[in-house]
């Protein structure tokens, strides 16, 4: 399992590991978090009325790690002291498998919950990760919006959702 807070991995995600990564602060003198909020995204068995058989995730791995790091910096800019861990799995995933895991550590719970929500919204917007859905009767690439980390409207929308 990856030791880094930002990882793209072929193996199963371990949420407990992410919690450790945001709880044990290596930097001397830093404040220990009083709260950790977590998110786990799972492969659904149905999508747009289709019965999903499995998913194949693909990433530009180096760019994805940088995107995760950028999201961490954005979050810290808004909630000072927040620390994020973001891991995404790639390869073939079965129904119920975790595809993305996020942990947000903060001094207090309000910031931890908000930063966690912000992180998943931003992952969906700017992480270079693609999902190929194999369903009963066919297969399809799932595509959303063009990834643009500098799109301020998208970032504002992620912040709005985080603070709703």
């Amino acid at each position: 399992m990856a030791a880094s807070r930002f990882a793209v991995t072929r193996g199963p995600l371990e949420l407990g590991r992410l919690v450790e990564l945001v709880s044990l602060r290596p930097d001397e003198g830093a404040t220990t978090p009083g709260a950790v909020a977590t998110f786990l995204g799972l492969v659904r068995d149905r999508n747009l009325g289709r019965r999903v058989h499995h998913l194949e995730y693909e990433a530009h791995e180096a760019l994805a790690r940088r995107a995760f790091q950028r999201i961490d910096e954005e979050a810290r800019g808004h909630w000072p002291g927040v620390v994020l861990a973001i891991h995404h799995r790639v390869g073939r995933l079965e129904i119920g498998d975790a595809s993305v895991a996020i942990a947000a550590g903060s001094t207090h719970r309000a910031e931890a919950f908000a930063a966690c929500r912000y992180a998943i919204e931003r992952v969906k917007q700017i992480a270079p990760i693609w999902k190929h859905e194999v369903f009963d009767g066919g297969d399809v690439w799932i595509e959303g919006a063009t990834a643009d980390p500098d799109d301020e409207a998208a970032r504002a929308e992620a912040m709005r959702r985080a603070c709703a």
């Binding site: 530009h60 760019l63 270079p128 999902k131 959303g144 919006a145 990834a147």
Partner: protein, 83 residues
């Protein structure tokens, strides 16, 4: 000069190629690299409006100048998901 091109997801499927090495003229931009690619693989043409790019593992605008040895990645819209 020579650049390395990487294609992902649907773009890779359409071109039937994952990694390519191609010549580019001095002063070429990412957009020029894409245009040359579309001439070679016309199936990519409709995706020019939604493609984004990364140079050497960092997001880059299409107007960015490329340099010899650069890795230019073309990315279809990411999987997103509104809910």
């Amino acid at each position: 000069m020579r650049v390395r091109i990487r294609l992902f997801a649907r773009l890779r499927d359409l071109a039937g190629a994952e990694e390519l090495a191609r010549d580019a003229a001095a002063g070429a931009t990412v957009a020029d690299v894409w245009a040359a690619l579309v001439r070679e693989y016309p199936a990519l043409e409709p995706h020019g409006r939604t493609v984004s790019a990364a140079v050497n593992d960092d997001y880059a605008p299409m107007r960015r100048l490329v340099e010899d040895g650069d890795e230019v990645a073309f990315l279809p819209p990411v999987s997103g998901g509104r809910r």
